[in-house]
Amino acid sequence: MKKYTYTEKKDTRSGFGAGILELGRTNPNVVALTADLAGSLKLEGFIKEFPERYVQCGISEANMIGVSAGLTIGGKIPFATSFANFATGRVYDQIRQSVCYSNKNVKICASHAGLTLGEDGATHQILEDIGMMKMLPNMTVINPCDFNQTKAATIAIADYEGPVYLRFGRPVVPIFTPADQKFEIGKAIVLNEGPDVSIFATGHLVWEAIKAGEMLAEQGIEADIINIHTIKPFDEEAVLASVRKTRCAVSAEEHQLNGGLGDSVAQALARNFPAPLEMIGVHDSFGESGTPDQLMKKYGLTAEKIVEAALRAKSRVV
């Protein structure tokens, strides 16, 4: 197992804040919008340097999505920000008609996704957003894993023409990807190569997958660990190449099993190379209040659970 270490933990939303500040300096068409969550989305730096390119929308997310679509007519690149719940489910029809069907160059950037939002509870912990967004034609869906990757993804999506959903989170997590990485939309990243089991993870679960890989290695099992930072377009080639080798797989995500990464992996395998798949994610339930660590443990989104799933998947290989 390849060794991964970290010296610092940061929140992925701060990676977004750093990315959009850099974009502000390099791309005069970038505009940042928010619906009364500028602080939570780490927009302070951008607002200070580029006040004229900052659009406060107040607590009206539907209007923010429409205003973003309108800004593209005029060549602007709007980054519409809110919590993942209010940036997707609340405004699904606005995204569907004004952004995706109209194929507008709108970047929906959403923080506080998943259970790790913590104590605010289920009203704010969306676990369905990846599914809703990936079902929309024309939409690209990205869920980076740490500060550096979120920053790189933020910068990369400005150069891509079309609707994007960029999903990140609230808690501090280890920074283990390179600061100078170039983010390639739709290109999965192989973190470890092994012949025994494939582990596909996205977002906060990528670090858990690395920890799981270390635990499996102690048992003599070497896992293929792949960071699927882009859920759509889905890197089917990377998934199939790995499972053709390992013949079994685990998916891991901070999201409902319905509609998430595991669902995309299952579709790819069923269509091309049927193989045992164990899925780590939330089983058709809402979240609840608690600390991020408590919640991830209670809902089974941990390295330990990934290890158990890997052993189960492996035992199912015929």
Partner: protein, 285 residues
């Protein structure tokens, strides 16, 4: 352009509308006929649009240095398509494909088929005012002094998103935005004041910080005069309550919600066309 000439174009557009909806036995003639004079005034007189040497409109998605129009109540697509075609955005003959398979003229306006003149999909109500706000904001960022117009329905004012956008525009001082409400007092289920009473829309918009004015939407002279006078304040958006008669120009379609989304049969089409005589220089598609 001379008022009489605009009226002649409007009559031809009305012929297009009833023929288009008749041909596919679907579509929305009532609101289309009611808003015909406004769209003709905008595209043939009021708006500054990019044109080639022959005067035909040239389509630029980003609308750089030209005025912009958004149709929020997308179901009145027949009038939008006819006016765009007759402005030169695409061949008038293409109106015959309205609502048919593989057409660029979808039931509700869409960009997916790349029909010149359409910049955003509309149909699901309540979204156009927000889009217009964004486009007006972009014009200001670009130092582009041209104007943004958006047409909405009066029934559409029941959507919550409208009031989010109505709060946004004056707050951000979008004086380059004029929103127009097709105030025909009808919606699918009946008269608007019975279905869900909007009460005093003018007072509501005034309270939100808009300049509010009224206009007779089936009086070409009043439309031209009002639209030219309405964009005086550089920091305050304008709301025009445009009083129209649904189905205007075809007597049996006027004044009732029944022709909101119903096409005329062969006999009714003949009666309607008889009331809309072709004028000099114009012809059917």
């Amino acid at each position: 352009m001379e008022i009489q000439q605009l009226q002649h174009i409007a009559t031809q557009v009305r012929r297009d509308i009833v023929r288009m909806v008749h041909a596919v036995n679907s579509g929305h003639p009532g609101g289309s006929l009611g808003c015909t004079d406004l769209l003709v005034a905008l595209y043939f007189d009021v708006m500054h649009l990019k044109r080639d040497e022959q005067g035909a409109a040239i389509f630029d998605m980003n609308a750089t240095d030209e005025d912009l129009f958004f149709l929020s109540n997308g179901h009145i697509s027949p009038v939008f398509y006819s006016v765009l075609a007759r402005s030169g955005y695409f061949p008038v003959s293409e109106l015959a494909t309205f609502r048919k398979l593989d057409s660029r003229l979808q039931g509700h306006p869409a960009t997916a088929e790349h029909l010149p003149g359409i910049r955003i999909a509309s149909g699901s109500l309540g979204q156009g005012l927000s889009v217009a706000c964004g486009a007006a904001f972009a014009k200001r960022l670009n130092g582009d002094d041209k104007h943004v117009y958006v047409l909405m329905g009066d029934g559409e004012q029941q959507e919550g998103q409208i009031w989010e956008a109505a709060t946004f525009a004056p707050h951000h001082k979008l004086g380059n935005l004029t929103a127009i409400i097709d105030f025909n007092g009808q919606q699918i289920d009946g008269p608007t004041n019975l279905v869900m009473n909007n009460r005093d829309l003018g007072a509501k918009y005034r309270a939100f910080g808009w300049n509010v004015t009224e206009m007779k939407g089936n009086d070409m002279s009043d439309i031209i005069k009002t639209l030219h006078e309405s964009k005086n304040d550089p920091e305050v958006p304008t709301l025009i309550l445009m009083e129209t008669e649904m189905g205007f120009g075809v007597d049996f379609m006027m004044g009732s919600h029944k022709w909101h989304g119903v096409a005329p049969n062969d006999e009714q089409l003949a009666v309607a066309l008889n009331q809309l005589p072709i004028t000099a220089g114009m012809s059917d598609y």
